[in-house]
Symmetry: C2
Subunit: 368 residues, 2 copies
Amino acid sequence: MAVPTPVCVAVIGVGLVGSEFIAQLLGLPQPSPFRLVSLTSSSRTLFRASDPFAPGADWKAALAASQDTPDLSKLTEQLAGLVSPQQKVAIVDNTSSEDVAARYPVWLQKGISVITPNKKAFSGDVALYDALIGGAAASGAKCLHEATVGAGLPVIATLKDLVATGDKILKIEGVFSGTMSYIFTEFSTGAAGGPAFSAVVKEAREKGYTEPHPADDLNGADVARKLAILARVAAPARGAVLPKLNSYADVATRSLIPAALEGVKTGDEFVARLPEFDEEFGKMREEANAAGDVLRFVGVVDAVKGEVKAGLERYASTHPFATALGGSDNIIMFHTERYSPRPLIVQGAGAGAAVTAMGVLADLLRLV
Amino acid sequence: MAVPTPVCVAVIGVGLVGSEFIAQLLGLPQPSPFRLVSLTSSSRTLFRASDPFAPGADWKAALAASQDTPDLSKLTEQLAGLVSPQQKVAIVDNTSSEDVAARYPVWLQKGISVITPNKKAFSGDVALYDALIGGAAASGAKCLHEATVGAGLPVIATLKDLVATGDKILKIEGVFSGTMSYIFTEFSTGAAGGPAFSAVVKEAREKGYTEPHPADDLNGADVARKLAILARVAAPARGAVLPKLNSYADVATRSLIPAALEGVKTGDEFVARLPEFDEEFGKMREEANAAGDVLRFVGVVDAVKGEVKAGLERYASTHPFATALGGSDNIIMFHTERYSPRPLIVQGAGAGAAVTAMGVLADLLRLV
């Protein structure tokens, strides 16, 4: 068989995930099925279609030395110029930018595949989502986003397989936030007593497990975005009754931010004031303990009832959400007609640069 | 985008899994990306390239009415005649036949993709395995076998992604046999006492969870075959130290068949005599209980020590193999450099016609 022409890859976003992704990409065995032809950071861009980066290349120095500032419109034209029946082109968006996400439909229409861990396009405005699905269908370019839920865990691919092979999705439920997973496995172990809620959040923040402002985790928005993504992927399933979400804001999300702390500007102030609410959280823990339960922040896509919701729930101390979690594990249970009464379960680290980059690279490898 | 030409599909084996697979295939939304052009049972064959089966077709009646007896050489020529740059062709082998498996290299060389839950080619003679890998590489045809391990669970695909993206595989361990899973979750719960081993095996047999001759499960060969498959897929991983297995017989397998019952001809006699060994199994359970452990029949691919082994092991009663299993669940843990210290876990039903057929169909969908 003739060796296929390597896929041209342009990377946008060279932060933690982006840098790790580039390291994994350039570390593939040679000859690689990819040519890394472009890099774009928040302040610099490089386009080297005729001189792609080799394994071991000092791409950071090259990008730092570039005089070109980011210009996504120009990049679009440059990449579209490479697309041909013999030449696949992919953009890997390792940012969390709305602006980058807004360009996916155009890229896809022009035949440029999009691979990304960026949740914005898949969980945001339904018009953008529909446009990117339409763009991909029109050109045959792929839009793959495994790493938007569970990082490198096989979550989206598994759901797509269940849907495509005609299984009936009953319910997807899980712990979708590594931060929430860590906080509640520390806070609510099922044993009496335990650390104060504010102390757990403070420690999680110091370890870098939360956003700089912990309210950005505790508001549940990250979980709501992941649920919106899953609900949209599950919607075409046989017999699924799911609402058409205008955006992740339609997910019924019970924030953990105490009302009095809504709008607190800084993370420092937030953690300083959180102890005022330790009694309230402690009482929820006591009530759960008394019933033999633990507290977990979970997300549910119920394709029978037509509900998509995120919030703090109680689970029996024998339930996998109580027994199986540790670290910042995610766990996702697929309850389906075929996987019934016992679900299909995927579990493991759901955040971190290495596993997120791996999810992105695995998607990219599906293009070849 | 032009709609791609539907892939021509020939099915060999129309038993439990085969019938379910055909039902799922013909149940795909229209227009289907596949044309079902041929069926072969143990006694009949049909080739209808110009008149493929439609949704709702009574394929069983059509096959029963055929006057043609199976002829895999003729089928090979018929299908090879369909292959062209515009026309993909796939054989779905739903048998467990060595004879069918032996033909994979030729089919792949001729550009016919092979999709199968049949473990024989992937766990048997290494010469056959190398030949089919070589055949696929030469023609570009695909050989996919997700359903050989864990049925529809994402096991092979996950392992391939870990390997292809450059993760270092440390250890894969799991409960790979639904039958063994059922038997030991019933027999060894961690609580004192419990049913006799022979009673559990007898009940499992009556429920249809074992082979007609339970020794065919208790010998561990099914687990050894799955481990050989995983070891071969994991072998190219970065830093993996794994022996080149001549066949699954090279897997260090500790059979559970009492020496005195080796060679017992019938399943009836086997279960009638098994009570003689209840004391022995009961003693193992007591010893495990005394240490706070349970017994599980597990398989391990250790890519650091270079070991591939199957046997009865003890696990702490807090370990997922003790707490998380039920029914005839499989559970597979991938310990890797990236998924460390906590593994990536996949769990769920690892046997059954519906989930096995789904694993096969999901693979087939990867061709389009």
